[in-house]
């Protein structure tokens, strides 16, 4: 490990390399956000330049790892849909009322094309009109009512 990571008073991450260069506003980015979220994480400068490549978070000091995880959690927003309560119509644009792991909310589905099938069995990624991505980890694990609503859009 040849860098140091701290958080400054503005809440930004500051990275100090072994050569002593200081980068403010460093951002951790998952290279494979969907297929391998826990591996291959890059630390990128505020200008978008890659500074550090971490194939895994293992072996990093506890504090650094915590900082990276904290920052990732703060930046990442991919609510997981647990239940589809209601949909306003089966024709798009359609407003869905859903329960997510981050609490209940509504989303607007612009078109069926915004539902993307992921590699895993039954897992879907739904982009709403504002560019937020909602995850359905396994649609077959949803309750029957949700599945029935969802099926109309697949």
């Amino acid at each position: 490990m040849n860098f140091q990571l701290t958080r400054n008073a503005f809440g930004r991450l500051v990275l100090t390399t072994a050569e002593g260069a200081v980068h403010e506003g460093v951002v951790p980015v998952r290279a494979f956000a969907l297929t391998a979220p826990e591996e291959d994480i890059a630390l990128v400068s505020a200008e978008g330049k890659e500074l550090v490549w971490l194939p895994t978070l293992e072996g990093l000091p506890e504090a650094t790892r915590a900082l990276i995880r904290e920052e990732l959690a703060r930046r990442e927003f991919m609510p997981e849909i647990r239940r589809i309560v209601a949909v306003s119509s089966f024709a798009t644009p359609s407003t869905w009322t859903v329960d997510t792991d981050r609490g209940p909310t509504t989303l607007v589905l612009k078109s069926e094309d915004d539902i993307r099938r992921l590699k895993g069995p039954g897992s879907l990624l739904i982009a709403d009109s504002q560019g937020i991505h909602y995850l359905i980890r396994d649609r077959r694990a949803l309750d029957a009512a949700s599945q029935k609503l969802l099926k109309r859009f697949l």
Binding site: R74, T105, Q130, K151, L154
Partner: protein, 736 residues
């Protein structure tokens, strides 16, 4: 979306000047909370931060989450998060904050807020709203069946024909109902008396059969007239809808086109209008006829025998409801099949254009497997649907039979009680079998109406859109254009990004200006503003002392010749393409323009000379040749102002030299604004304007700027290094 209010007057008390409803908490869980701005402080629940000059608000967004941060220059005081739907409100909050902060330093009441624009379509947003009403509607409202009523606007010119069509429908339907009625006397007065031993009254038979034939002929003639007239009207309505939508679309600004997929717009004007057309001429007409028929039949049946009529009509709603349920199941199935079909075709659309890649990487087997997979999915869905679908027709048959059976049972019972005659029962049976068969097609109306409504909504989405480059209400006449342009403190925002920040430049008539800078520095935007493809957010662009926004758009653009990086040739002859901006140009003019553009000679090499086809199918021209045709096009309209937007970037150096010669002819005597990535092409420029991040950083001649060793020098050095030798590490960064 959220409530917020602006008070233009400086309030004496701690009034609320802006609010922001945040919907995410610190750990990005959904919540609902509110922060409030008053002229004195920012409040969030119990906490409050008094306004001071040290405070600053900044916003940024990532992955659909916006963050608003409050800091005092030394540390972060608070951060609020929200989904991007709240972004307009957040931007307004930030704007209001800055306005009130400013008046702390100046001591003056805050200036009026500038007009805000929609981040999506750039149309001005009414002051009391945060979101552009058009875009919000397009995004959030599902199609409602009521949209179809708005089509009435297109039906108005054909009111008379529509009314005639309605009368004909009424008459035709009535005519079809006559034959069953005539079976009654035929049965009771002719056939049954004959069976009881009385001779047949031939005169009466002839009279009745003549009536049957007459009614059939009448129904045929009326039906023909009705269908013809209504088809005529609906075709006209469809055509009007198409042209109106297309005309409106052409008037919309470039922003609108930037945000839309071409295929989507084409589908809206093409197939959606056609779907509405079919709906009007076929489905709606059939439905109206069916409803009329059922109503008229009911009246006739009740007039013959009320009780039997009641029994006959009673199962009708039940059967209609059952059919509707089955249809509904089928509809979702059909929708699914549609989507599976899309999957199958997308495999094809993917591989066929990329066949060279597929073959080069020897992946035929995998692509075949992918297709087989999609096909298997298709088969599965079809099998599932066919299980229901194969049941459907027999079920409708069964239901009809059951309905008829009920009438038989009750009818026989009534005959046995001598309440009705055999003729009445026959008439009833004849009537009922007529409309039971129509129930199926009637049940279809729900789904076709929904589809037509969705199509209508997508069309009205275009029609309701207001151009963000509006024609002036009271246009000022454009004085004779000499070619001078005055750019006065121009700001331009696209969405929430500031692209131009206070650009001022006075361009003299006949001057050649070279615009230089990294990509994204705002060069093309400035040019687009001069062409008035967009309107400035703040400041003004003036020609001969008149603000561009006060001049009719088309009149101004007539003075501008535009040569783009990607010359676009329409399908047509070379001559037509050259004369695009001046369709009535003479042959001499066209040839002169082509000569000046150094295009004449290669045009003569084409098989039909100036009459050779180019455009979509005429791709025999090279990039440089196409560019010279587009230069000839710009030359022909003899513009006072010439804009070259990377006109030579897409061609090799040799072709560039030829184009450069053509351009030299073009530039002579005109105000020219040229954007070029290759700095060497701008040597002839009178002044070079160097832009960086939306501002002008340097102005001057090549030699002056080189001496300065500033932005231009760095750009120039980076380029010449790239040309001479493989760039050392770091040179790219300098250039990028």
């Amino acid at each position: 979306m959220s409530a917020s209010s602006t008070l233009p007057q400086p309030p004496a008390t701690a009034e609320v000047v802006a609010t922001l409803d945040i919907d995410l908490d610190e750990r990005l869980n959904f919540t609902s909370d509110r922060i409030v701005l008053t002229p004195r402080e920012i409040r969030h629940g119990e906490r409050a931060w008094p306004l001071s000059t040290k405070l600053s608000l900044t916003h940024h967004d990532h992955a659909g989450v916006g963050t608003l941060e409050l800091s005092d220059g030394e540390r972060l005081l608070a951060a609020w998060r929200y989904t991007l739907g709240r972004n307009p409100a957040a931007l307004k909050f930030e704007r209001e904050f800055n306005r009130w902060k400013e008046c702390l330093t100046s001591g003056k009441p805050p200036a009026e807020p500038a007009e805000t624009k929609c981040p999506i379509c750039q149309a001005p947003i009414p002051p009391d709203e945060e979101e552009c009403p058009n875009c919000a509607r397009e995004l959030h409202t599902p199609p409602s069946t009521w949209v179809l009523l708005r089509l009435w606007r297109f039906a108005v010119p054909y009111k008379g024909m529509l009314f005639a069509g309605f009368l004909l429908t009424l008459a035709a339907t009535a005519a079809t109902l006559v034959p069953p009625y005539l079976t009654m006397p035929l049965m009771d007065d002719v056939l049954i008396p004959y069976q009881n031993g009385q001779p047949i009254d031939w005169a009466k038979v002839a009279w009745l059969l003549g009536g049957l034939l007459g009614a059939a002929l009448l129904a045929w003639a009326l039906g023909w007239a009705r269908t013809y007239i209504l088809a005529l009207v609906s075709e006209r309505i469809g055509a009007d809808l198409r042209t109106t939508t297309y005309e409106h679309l052409l008037k919309l600004s470039l922003e609108y086109f930037g945000g839309k997929r071409t295929g989507d717009l084409m589908a809206r004007i093409g197939s959606e209008t056609d779907r509405i057309n079919v709906f009007l001429s076929l489905h709606l007409l059939d439905f109206a006829t069916d409803v009329l028929m059922i109503a008229m039949t009911a009246v006739i049946l009740f007039s013959i025998h009320p009780w039997l009529a009641l029994i006959t009509l009673l199962p009708l709603p039940i059967i209609a409801w059952l059919i509707h349920i089955v249809r509904d199941k089928l509809r979702t199935g059909f929708e699914q099949i549609d989507r599976v079909w899309a999957e199958v075709t997308s495999v094809l659309a993917d591989t066929i254009p990329g066949i060279r890649v597929v073959k080069a990487f020897a992946q035929e087997a995998r692509e075949a497997q992918r297709f087989r997979e999609a096909n298997r999915h298709n088969l599965e869905v079809n099998d599932r649907l066919n299980r229901v679908w194969s049941l459907f027709a027999p079920t409708v048959g069964l239901l009809t039979e059951v309905g008829v059976l009920v009438v038989w049972v009750f009818g026989i019972w009534l005959i046995a009680k001598d309440t009705i005659t055999v003729g009445v029962l026959t008439a009833f049976l004849a009537y009922i079998s007529r409309f039971y068969t129509r129930l199926d097609s009637m049940s279809r109306i729900v789904s076709v109406t929904q589809k037509a409504a969705a199509g209508a909504k997508r069309i009205f989405d275009i029609l309701d859109h207001v151009s963000s480059v509006p024609e002036p209400k009271t246009p000022a006449p454009l004085p004779p254009v000499k070619g001078g342009i005055e750019i006065d403190d121009v700001h331009f925002r696209y969405g929430n990004r500031a692209i131009l920040r206070g650009v001022s430049l006075t361009i003299r008539p006949g001057e050649m200006i070279g615009l230089v800078g990294h990509s994204g520095s705002g060069k093309s935007t400035l040019v687009n503003l001069i062409c008035r493809f967009y309107d400035v957010s703040e400041g003004a662009i003036r020609v001969e002392g008149v603000d561009l926004r006060n001049v009719p758009v088309a009149e101004w653009r007539r003075h501008i010749g535009l040569v783009l990086q990607e010359p676009f040739l329409f399908f047509g002859t070379i001559a037509e393409n050259i004369a695009y901006g001046k369709p009535n140009a003479t042959r001499e003019e066209i040839v002169a323009a082509a000569r000046a553009a150094h295009a004449h000679e290669f045009i003569l090499k084409q098989p039909f000379g100036y009459d050779s086809l180019v455009g979509e199918r005429g791709q025999s021209l090279s990039g440089g040749e196409r560019q010279r045709i587009s230069i000839a096009r710009a030359l022909l309209i003899d513009p006072k102002i010439l804009i070259l937007d990377e006109a030579t970037s897409a061609v090799d150096t040799e072709t560039e030299f030829e184009i450069q010669q053509a351009l030299n002819n073009l530039i002579r005597g005109r105000t020219t604004i040229a954007i070029a990535h290759r700095l060497s092409t701008l040597r002839r420029a009178d002044r070079l304007v160097v832009m960086d991040r939306g501002q002008i950083v340097e102005i001057g001649h090549h030699d002056e700027l080189m001496e300065k060793q500033g932005h231009y020098w760095r750009l120039y050095m980076a380029q010449s290094k790239q040309l001479d030798a493989p760039p050392p590490l770091g040179a790219e960064e300098e250039a990028a």
